[in-house]
């Protein structure tokens, strides 16, 4: 099933124009490159006002009083709104994506530094910001819960005293797998290795911060909201539920979005503030958060403190994996995950290995930190899961003195075992792991690298080679298992072919940079033979597109991509009937060659899809029972998730004097099934790998003991630049998904998932001469130096 073809040789001209899948330049890029993208902040409406939000300077405090009189007296201020005002409107609290509630504006207490306390609407952005300084809030400061390990201490202050009867900071316990069976395997195993592994809090930090323009029309009771949303349809429904506005009177538009990475899935208080601002002033109101607000208040990711355990035979057969997780959810449980999956898809911590047993127990708690836990390019906690298993497998290799590649290959799920049911219940759809691993080894020149490493070690140099192999679960639904606040995770798609044979396809998912306008045109082109240039892709506007749950968790291609292929096939089926009438033969006698039907055995007798389109809209007769027009609509409910996999190899050098890590090489071989546009896939992979370098080496949202966020600017929260990353070496194998109509699996998050363990494994491998088996991210020079001295420290 697996093919391992190469990137076409001598592929100088990148701008091929395939009628279907293949490498081609992105249709959306001319406008981005020329600065003609239209983002939320580009929206200017007549009479538009500006909103700025006053945020809590402290992590935990009771609000004693708020005096807004000076702000209200500012000549350019139109409204000042506090939690008390919102309470009157019934809007002070809103539901989160995971069944909790979150304060829109604090009414009783502030629960994290940066929490929304009041907002001002003024004539311009400057005046709005100036007026914030005129609001006088008196706080009665309380002890904060900062160290997640102490959140459940009986003496810990209770953060959520707003919840009825809440006497502690516990959110949920969750488990998966078979505890007893796992214990039995561990008890009799030759070798058991355990390690404490922390995945620190990080932030998606998209280039464009969050924001919106709310325009409420009082006459029509109609709300138009331009917003930085990864899920405009889901947001519209939620606004209808939260604000009590009728859903048909709400239009949510996500124009061009400058990166989301999961951070634009939730509804933030700021959006609600702008809507309220527009309702009370009767004018359009823009709210655009600044960089610090983005980093300190919008959805963080990760923050899992994990204990990983692995059981194996002495000769390296892995028997079981067990883990215990303490999850820091911040002040409100705002995790963006399907309702039945409070820990997202963490259950795939069994990795790519054929195990006898597995078990995970997780406890989630509140702390005085920003809420979130978003699917930051992690397909719902898969990043944490893959990091855990790939780190603990390396710890096992260390103890067994076995090559980490050999250990992995020995334990891979075998191709004939697919579809494979894991011990935590996931049904891996397809996979052929060893060829992918071998390909990465070949590109990297693995054996030579190990030789070089031995030579360097003999000279006292620190070189490390890290390997990671991942399997992801992406493309949520199916809808019966997966929903967000009751909305099933399926996606609609609509295709219309115009009389002249040009087409428009309308998607329910929304691009934040992934290139949907190209990929989806190509998917449709492949099915109906209309060139991608002739197919317009419409997305991100609830008035213009069918319902669906949006783009995150790598679900666009697995779900919406399937919808696009199937709707095109539906159109093609209708086209076939019309063609049979035009050619006066039965449909069974027609043969489809991309773009045209011809009579079997008589290729001269043929009609193109363009001819058919004209006929469908024309004056001539159509076959009996066939309506005019050439269009279709469907809603695709995936039968299963798709499971992309990949083999990553990282080579690092560490300066023994300064402990600085340099990523010298990185080889990424991805298998995301059928490849629609290889250039876009490579772009996604490059992005994710860069992200991985950030998380592994420098990114972390840290807090001091008072709960002050120490990562509130891009000078403090570092993200990597071109200088920190090597030339990426990518390769691929193709193992199609058996249940996806075109076999595609999704690749948006693979590299973010797979690269951190590869990099950390490489750094730890480089530090082997110091007797180091594990060191936590972020591996900054200071933390690597600690590890070199035998005192690796957890980051929290």
């Amino acid at each position: 099933m697996t093919t391992t073809d190469e990137r076409p040789a001598g592929f100088e001209n990148n701008d091929h124009k395939p009628v279907g899948h293949g490498r081609m330049l992105r249709k959306e890029d001319p406008r981005f490159i020329r600065g003609k993208g239209r983002y939320v902040d580009d929206v200017q409406l007549p009479g538009m006002l500006h909103c700025a939000i006053l945020r809590s300077p402290v992590a935990h405090a009771r609000i004693v009083s708020i005096d807004t009189s000076a702000a209200e007296a500012h000549p350019k201020v139109k409204a000042v709104v506090t939690g008390a005002t919102l309470t009157g409107l019934g809007l002070a609290w809103m539901p989160t994506l995971s069944g909790d509630v979150q304060a829109v504006l604090a009414t009783d207490k502030v629960r994290f530094q940066g929490q929304e306390v009041a907002f001002v609407v003024a004539e311009d952005r400057y005046a709005a910001r100036d007026a914030l300084e005129l609001i006088d809030v008196e706080y009665d400061v309380l002890d904060p819960v900062v160290d997640v390990r102490k959140a459940l201490d009986p003496s810990a202050p209770v953060i959520r005293d707003d919840l009825d009867g809440k006497r502690n900071n516990h959110i949920f316990d969750w488990e998966t797998g078979d505890e007893a069976a796992t214990e039995a395997v561990f008890a009799s195993a030759d070798v058991v290795v355990s390690e404490d592994i922390v995945y620190p809090r990080v932030h998606p930090a998209p280039m464009e911060t969050c924001g919106c323009v709310a325009d409420y029309d009082r006459i029509d009771s109609r709300l138009t909201l331009w917003s930085t949303s990864q899920a405009p349809h889901a947001h519209r429904t939620l606004y209808a539920i939260v604000a009590g506005l009728p859903e048909h009177k709400i239009r949510v538009i996500s124009p061009d979005i400058g990166g989301g990475f999961g951070g634009k899935v939730p509804i933030y208080p700021g959006y609600v503030c702008a809507i309220v601002g527009s309702i009370v002033t009767g004018k359009p109101v823009k709210w655009m958060e600044d960089r610090s607000e983005n980093l300190t208040s919008t959805g963080f990711a990760r923050d899992y403190i994990m204990r990983g355990e692995i059981a194996a035979t002495r000769d390296g057969r892995i028997l079981a994996v067990r883990t215990n997780v303490l999850a820091d959810h911040g002040a409100f449980n705002g995790v963006a995950a399907p309702v039945k999956y409070p820990a997202g898809f963490f259950g795939v911590f069994t990795g790519s290995y054929d195990l006898q047993a597995a078990y995970c127990k997780m406890t989630a708690v509140y702390t005085n930190k920003a809420p979130g836990g978003v699917a930051y390019a992690c397909s719902f906690r898969i990043t944490e899961a893959v990091y855990l298993v790939e780190r603990i497998v390396d710890c096992l290799a260390y103890e067994l003195k076995m090559d980490p590649v050999e250990l992995r290959i020995k334990n891979f799920i075998q191709p004939e075992q697919f579809p494979y049911r894991t011990k935590t219940g996931w049904l891996y759809d397809s996979g052929d792991y060893e060829p992918t691993m071998r390909k990465a080894l070949e590109i990297a020149g693995y054996d030579d690298l190990r030789k070089e490493q031995a030579e360097r070690r003999a000279r006292g140099e620190l070189m490390g080679i890290g390997v990671a192999f991942f399997t992801e679960a992406v493309g949520a639904g199916p809808r019966k298992d997966m929903d967000i606040l009751g909305l099933g995770m399926a996606d609609g798609c609509e295709l219309r072919v115009h009389p002249t044979g040009k087409a428009v396809v309308r998607l329910s998912v929304q691009s934040q940079g992934q290139g949907h306008e190209t990929t989806f045109a190509q998917i449709v082109a492949e099915e109906i033979g209309i060139p991608p240039a002739d197919i317009d892709v419409v997305h991100g506007d609830t008035d213009q597109t069918p319902f669906g749950l949006g783009t995150y968790g790598s679900r666009s291609t697995p779900v919406s991509g399937a919808a696009a292929a199937l709707v095109a096939r539906k159109v093609r089926d209708k086209a076939r009937i019309i063609a049979s009438g035009m050619l006066e033969v039965s449909v069974a006698d027609l043969e489809w060659v991309k773009g045209a039907f011809h009579v079997k055995g008589d290729p001269e007798k043929s009609v193109t899809i363009q001819d058919i389109a004209m006929r469908a809209h024309g004056a001539g007769d159509l076959p009996e029972g066939i309506e005019g027009g050439l269009e279709a609509q469907i809603c695709y409910n995936p039968e299963n998730l798709t499971y992309p996999h990949g083999a990553y190899i990282c080579v690092v050098d560490i300066d023994p004097g300064t402990a600085q890590v340099k990523v010298r090489r990185f080889v990424a071989v991805d298998d995301c099934g059928t490849r629609i546009n290889p250039m876009i896939i490579e772009g996604q992979v490059h992005r994710g790998l860069t992200d991985g370098v950030g998380m592994a080496l420098m990114e972390m949202i840290a807090f001091d003991e008072d709960g002050n966020c120490l990562g509130g600017s891009l000078m403090d929260y570092l993200i990597p630049t071109a200088l920190e990353v090597p030339d990426w070496e990518t390769g691929f194998t193709v193992t199609p998904s058996p249940h996806h109509p075109i076999g595609a699996k999704g690749v948006g998050e693979s590299a973010t998932v797979g690269s951190p363990p590869a990099i950390v494994n490489a750094v730890v491998d480089a530090l082997k001469p110091f007797g180091i088996r594990h060191a936590d991210m972020p591996l900054t020079p200071s933390r690597v130096w600690d590890a070199m001295r035998g005192v690796p420290r957890p980051p929290v």
Binding site: A702, M715, D716, T721, T780
Partner: protein
């Protein structure tokens, strides 16, 4: 978008004009040069001056690098980029190019100035460490004329200098001595980040022995400071790995780092040692590489 508080703005047309404005407006006014330190602080509302006096039009008057036999003079408005690109400067003081390669990024270097860097007096500031290492003097001008202070006198504390309200820094002067070279070493978490620790070294040889040497460190104390103890230990000695090691140990002993997001105090102390060694080693290598040519040059002098 982060937005500053309201501010009045005026462009100075000459140094005298700028000083006149400063005299008139007093403590509520601030000069803005490259703006790469001041504007971020204003946007975060950590600084809210009432008046900004833009001195970028003074680049003609204050943007220069003059290399003379005994002295190098650099105008306060000289931009990072000009310091980076000057071959003449790199010839006498290669430490400038070493440092400029790792200061910020090209966008910041296109605008940020020597004067702004020194007057910001950030303890992690790299050019301050360079000037300290080279024993520079600062020329400060006010309504009643000019005065010249040493780097030690210039720094009064973090973010605090000898430049008074109605004064400005106009020039720095660096003595040129024979048979010398210099180098700069910096460890940062990421390109464009401020230093975890930086170390500059300047060495002058005489007949194979160290005639004089200076070391300046950044990010390990309230200000970038010269280390007289290191100079004392090096003078009159023959350069060797052992000697660099001793000097490094002295540097580590004589600095006062604190633990922060960039690293632990212990690690920074270690870097002070390691980078001092590296900078000294590189300085001496540079003198020796130039040896033959420099020898002739020195004899002619």
């Amino acid at each position: 978008m982060q937005v500053p508080a309201p501010v009045e703005y005026e462009r100075a047309t000459s140094v005298d004009h700028a000083i006149g404005l400063l005299e008139r407006l007093g403590g509520s006014a601030r000069l803005v040069a490259g703006g790469h330190s001041l504007l971020p602080m204003m946007k975060l509302r950590l600084a809210s001056p009432e008046y900004l006096i833009d001195i970028n039009d003074l680049h003609g008057e204050l943007g220069y690098i003059r290399v003379e036999p005994d002295e190098v003079r650099i105008g306060a408005m000289t931009r990072h980029r000009e310091l980076l690109e000057s071959g003449e400067l790199a010839e006498v003081f290669p430490i400038f190019r070493d440092a400029e390669r790792v200061i910020a990024d090209p966008v910041v270097r296109n605008r940020g100035t020597l004067g702004g860097s020194l007057c910001q007096a950030d303890p992690s500031e790299d050019l301050s460490a360079v000037c300290t290492t080279l024993g520079a003097n600062c020329v400060i001008r006010g309504g009643s004329g000019e005065r010249v202070v040493t780097m030690e006198e210039f720094y009064r504390g973090p973010y605090e200098t000898a430049v008074e309200d109605a004064e400005m820094l106009v020039e720095i002067r660096i003595p040129v001595r024979p048979s010398g070279s210099s180098a700069y070493e910096k460890v940062e978490r990421r390109a464009g980040d401020w230093a975890i620790v930086s170390a500059g070294a300047a060495v002058w040889l005489d007949g194979g022995l160290i005639a004089d040497a200076r070391v300046g460190l950044a990010a390990v104390g309230p200000n970038t400071a010269g280390l007289p103890a290191v100079s004392d230990a090096l003078r009159g000695r023959e350069p060797s790995e052992e000697l660099y090691k001793q000097a490094g140990a002295l540097a580590a002993e004589n600095c006062s780092p604190v633990t922060d997001m960039r690293g632990s105090a212990e690690y920074k102390r270690h870097l002070a040692e390691e980078l001092t060694r590296r900078a000294l080693r590189r300085s001496v290598v540079r003198i020796n590489e130039r040896g033959w040519h420099a020898g002739i040059h020195d004899r002619q002098r």
